[in-house]
Amino acid sequence: MLSFNWLTSCDMTPKQVKALPKEWFELNGFLKIGDNGLVTIMSPNPEIGQNVKTSMPMLVAEELDVDWNDVIVEQAPLNTSVFSRQLAGGSQSIRQGWNSLRMAGATARAMLIQAAAQSWGVAASEITTLEGQLIHEGTGNKSGYGAMASLAAQQEVPEDVVLKDLNDFKIIGSSKKNVDGTKIVTGQPLYGLDYRSENMLIAMIVHPPAFGMKLKSLEGSEAEKMPGIKKVFTIKTHLEDYSLGAFDNDAFNEIAVVVGNTTWEVMKAKEVLKTEWELAPAKKEELNFFGRTVTVETPAGLESSTDHQKVFERMAKKKGKVVRKDGNPEKMFSQAAKIIERTYTCPFLAHNTMEPMNFYADVTPERANLVGPIQTPEIMEGSIAKRLGMDKEKIDIQMTRMGGGFGRRLYGHFMTEAAVISKEMGQPVKLIYSREDDMTQGTYRPSYHATYRAALDKENNLIAFHVKTGGIPESPLAANRFPAGAIDHYMAEEWTEKSNITVGAFRAPRSNFIAGAEQAFLDEVAEAMGKDPIDFRLELLDRAEKNPVGKNNDYEASRYAGVLKLVKEKSNWTAADSSIYRGTAAYFCHNSYVANVLDLEMQNGNPVVKKVYCAIDCGIVVNPDAATNLAEGGVVDGIGHAMYSAITFKDGMPEQNNFDRYRLIRHSEAPKEIEVHFVDNQIDPTGLGEPPFPPIMGAMANALYKATGVRHYNQPFITDKPLAG
């Protein structure tokens, strides 16, 4: 496939004491063993900071049975003949790779044993391994994997390979340092933005300044005369016959391009570009959503946040589409002694990965060599093949380490753009988005709305529950999640409203709003019922476990209760401390359960997050310290977005285009301490990139109420206005 992989650095991390081997022997597409026993393991999936680059090779190394100190990890390029699902998204990498990665290691180990059996003339069943050593007790024969690697590589791949017993794990379940740690802290080239090649040009784009607009004309002659500038032109990311896929948006399909020698020269040339924009017409397009054809209608017009607020007000009064109904909620609400009704909203959000969008492309008539940050390389291979009119076999894709993903880099339009620009220039090109280009491009987290109602009887029992959600342009409803299944009379309904503002998956899509809203509402219900918030949830979960209501309840009540009980215990929930204000929340999404207790202190009249407790059930934890880091990050991320961040609009234009106006959480605003606990079980691992992000927003809202007496219903809480500008 590739003769030289830029992503294989020759730098040795301090832990590797062995010199590089003279020869490598490939046992399968996942690993090769050097003649001196060093092992290179390919990490198949894109790395966005979720550290699969460490944990996926750990699975291989465990079953291969080697010393982790002898392992070198390489980022695999896109290689669909060897790897499946080379995708970062949905918190599925470990969950879906759990068996196949272990099998890859176990198969290679079996081949080494076969080789040793041949070498020593003994039965394979009598050979054992121990961290890179083959041993035959009967004859006293011993060999390092290195000496046996050549013969092992020639073995037939065995069919029936047995995996280790979970209790025999030595690597899985122990904390291993980030395999790129040393490279990161010494500033070595790792990211797409860092990639360079001979003869490479820099390209930047200009997209419409507002949603609902398109390019009318481009006058680039002045820009083309600027120092270092090669060419100014327009491109179309998708051609008219392109059928949109799940990760395509084409609001800004026709864009201006400036190509030059260096970034600063191109940035300066962009400033003197003369562009004219005009209103874009409404569109009706077919989108292929993983095999299902969906019609997407995009309205014309220039939308402002005030328009979106009017949508919320209008839709709040209308009936939605009922998605689930148990019992007779309408009757129970009409008989209720007390009804609690609350409405929650959140704004659009920009992903704002620290590394802006970028990609490198070297397109010739014979080949396309693409290098950069992408969460969906396989999908993009097909998409770019069509766009360039090239066979997929002629396209090479190398995935660089990404400076953040959060779902933004699922949408690889920038990769197509880079390829089209390189083809136009006949030279390698690195396309870079400025922060302003990036933050105003769209692909936002949608703006959501939810109204919750609870009916209580005269004795303050909860007799009915009603949730109605909506969004621009999608609804965040998860009708079958808790508390569905715990309440006899339950209704969930939803509405949507079209928009020409483009949206995309943002860390824990939909959950990233609805969890916080639901968990804040449950807090109010508990308070009205005179119940402790955790005990209230546990009572409902008890009902859901012992005598569930309805069908298809999308959670295991005992595991959900498990994380609540664990966080209650670890936070010493019932210990009274009048200077600490505590909020709790819990949620289940992306297959894992998370419960939080958040402790606030008031300092000089300002709430300060002192400590967060996090209890997680994600099954077997592959790399405990890395998992803890990821959970800590989810907590900080959740608090930050709930408190501070928003994209607002005026006449189609985002009102924030850099970090001076778009606020992200900073050091002093993060919790002073975060304590993470994992439920210890032997359930197959489930995801962790997304689950710790949603619930903390509810815990924050609940703690703020305790501390200030004020409940916040509209994110960001710092302004707490519906879609504040």
Binding site: T262, W264, L630
Partner: protein
């Protein structure tokens, strides 16, 4: 275009370049030192932090014309092989997630500790507040700075 002599990590470079070019892009595009990162271009995120005579500055807003013969240190020049106490502390606490902001965090932290070897919690937060981390490693960064200050 004008001629400049630039002192980076102890080496002098001669550059014929637009005087308004920010040091960030001089490093990345002209000197092949890509450890210093681009995050915002307006000194709001700290990813581009370098040392100018040992003081942390945002190189995205530092034009080459303003540097003169002052000494610039980048993440690549902080130590020979990652042995700076701050770098070692970062490894000990396994700080990075995506890692993109960390060079800038390390440069801010090392400048802080050079000027103030025993900072309080508030002093750490104040000095580091200009460095964004989108992955939320702030608690680990703080722990690593405390470790480095104790070593």
């Amino acid at each position: 275009m004008a001629l400049f002599q630039l002192n980076v990590n102890g080496t002098t470079h001669e550059l014929d370049i637009d005087p308004s070019t920010p040091i960030l892009w001089v490093l990345r595009d002209h000197l092949n030192l890509v450890g210093t990162k681009y995050g915002c271009g307006i000194a709001q995120c700290g990813a581009c932090t370098v040392h100018l005579n040992g003081v942390a500055v945002r190189s995205c807003q530092l034009p080459i014309s303003a540097v003169g013969n002052n000494a610039l240190t980048t993440i690549e020049g902080l130590s020979e092989k990652g042995e700076h106490p701050v770098q070692k502390a970062w490894i000990e606490h396994d700080v990075p997630q995506c890692g993109y902001c960390q060079a800038g965090q390390i440069m801010s932290a090392s400048a802080l500790l050079e000027a103030n070897p025993n900072p309080s919690e508030e002093e750490i937060e104040s000095a580091m507040n200009g460095n964004l981390c989108r992955c939320g490693t702030y608690t680990r960064i703080k722990a690593a700075i405390k470790t480095a200050s104790n070593s």
